[in-house]
């Protein structure tokens, strides 16, 4: 009788622990290999950061976490997630983001709801003239609105060419 009670108690503890871990435990992040020139397109990129690797597992730029005020053309507020391929390398003295870097910028409206994703992905050999960045504007449902070598993106970001077209965080600075 006592053994049976102990067994039931042990099972309950095991079950509740598993449930707790399943609900609140941090999932181990398993990065996929960087997208190649042949693979890259808006759909593939969306699948990568939203399905294969949940972008919410990416860290924020150091010192720029959570919802922050933004400005046109990126929405009234934003949240920026940085792929660990890039984040883990910080600081980068060469100011060149490594292959596989993905920066997901959630463009939020005044209600702080996601309107659209604007994404940069470093693809080796994709566009050597503009830092090999693949640019994309994707709706929150996953529809690709613009993709590739988007001129307006490159024009604006080119003012920070020395920081590999990245605006918020200087690569040579640490975490």
């Amino acid at each position: 009788m006592r053994t049976r009670r102990t067994l039931v108690l042990f099972s309950l503890i095991l079950l509740s622990s598993s449930l707790f871990l399943a609900l609140f435990g941090k999932k181990k992040f398993d990065p996929k290999p960087p997208l190649t020139v042949e693979e890259i397109n808006g759909k593939a990129l969306y699948r990568r950061f939203s399905v294969e690797e949940d972008y919410e597992n990416y860290p924020y730029w150091p010192g720029h976490d959570g919802v922050r005020p933004g400005q046109s053309p990126h929405g009234d507020f934003h949240q920026i997630y940085v792929h660990p391929y890039l984040y883990d390398k910080l600081p980068i003295q060469s100011s060149m983001a490594p292959e596989g870097s993905i920066i997901v910028k959630c463009n939020l409206d005044t209600e702080k709801e996601i309107k659209v994703f604007t994404v940069m992905a470093k693809v080796k050999g994709y566009n050597p003239d503009a830092g090999d960045w693949f640019w994309a504007k994707i709706s929150k449902e996953g529809d690709v609105l613009e993709e590739g070598k988007i001129v307006s993106c490159i024009d604006c970001h080119s003012a920070l060419k020395d920081n590999d077209y990245l605006i918020i965080h200087k690569l040579e600075r640490g975490k």
Binding site: R68, Q71, D76, F77, T110, C156, A159, I167, I168, K170
Partner: protein, 475 residues
Amino acid sequence: MKHLSIRLKIISVVILSLLLTILVILYVTTKNQRDNLLLANEKTLTTSTAMLNVTIRNIMLNGEAPIAVRTVENLQTIQDIEEIEIYRTDGSRAFHDYMTLEIVNRNLGKKIFKKTKRIPNKTIDNDHFREVLDTNAPKRVELRSVKEMEYYFPILNVPDCRKCHGSDHFVRGVAYFRLSTKSVYNQIRNANILLSGVFVVAGIIISTVLVIFLKRTIIFPILSIGGTVKMVGTGDFEARVPVRSGDELGQLGNEINQMIQGLEERFHLSKYVSRTTENLIRQRGEIRRAGERQSLTVLFSDVRQFTRFSEENPPDEVIETLNRILQVQAETVERFQGDIDKFIGDAVMAIFTDEYTAVQCAYHMISSVRAIDREYGTGLRVGIGINSGEVVLGNIGSERRLQYAVIGDVVNVASRLSGLARPNMILISESVMQKLEGKVKVKRISDQQIKGKLEKISFYVVQGIIDVEKNRWLR
């Protein structure tokens, strides 16, 4: 320390709980409202800033810098806008000198802008300003202590701007807004006052209803039970708990009423049961049929000429007089720690643990009955016989009806002595006399034949008894 009454405790708990609930609701509501109002303010500010950014940019792209300056100045007259400034990345105020104008003219290769009147310079240098330049992203700061909000908005050197301003920098400057949030806090305060009022009124109403409800359903029944128990404690077995509900307290009231009824029955029953019987029942918890031997003194008191009295007087008076005589005798027995074993018609049988007490009691029984005669003119007296020795005690009767009785020759002899005693006379046996040497004055009656005894016995008429406490003879 005096204990708080249950009424006070319950009312205190109700009021404290309500007060706590109201405070929590008030806090949550206020915080929620404050957050919502500030968020709404932030949304408005964000939209306004974006509009201003577009406006200034378009004005500047059309080469109308003085209009941009005037626009910024005029915006400061709007209510709640405390300050609007545009600062260069070095922290100096834009449009305070001709530096930008000259750079633009140089970049365009011609003097496109005239040197119009400049505004006074002032500078900004704080962590928020530097952070905005560092991250190239806007920043909002809430200054709660002064009820203001600051907004730092980077003016980006977007491609349209680069034609005039060059492409060697990403941020042209920072637009700085300082807004008053006093109106927001005023709204919060007014809402708080209104909410507090509503909650206080609601709290008072709910408290009152709750207190009345609790008073009727819990406090009153508990106090009633307490009051009833107290009355029973003083001997009032007529008291009953008023039962008005069928809940647990109602059931408790019913059970207490049943208990009181049981107590009342037992109390009345105790009049019919000797103390010895009660003690034995208490001690043993179960009824034993086996007898036991014990050395006791047995007293019999019999009313003389009662038969004639009963024939000459109406039944009511007979019973009343008899009860009066038996009552004073029973009280006297009790006073002397004796135990009424039974009433047998007009006779009383009592038992004592020692002879001297029994004789003392007998003396006072006679005095009491004489007092009744003096008061009511009954003409009745008692004669008393006392014997001591080993008796048999035990339960006698059927299984359904038992009587705890004292039996044996000692009892019989005491009864016979009582029968022989004349009015106001105490007769004691030889065994009693042996224990009272020096304490009584007696007259010996030798060799008397009594009913039920084969041998003749001697007994004694008590003529006086010494009162040990007062050291005098009672006759």
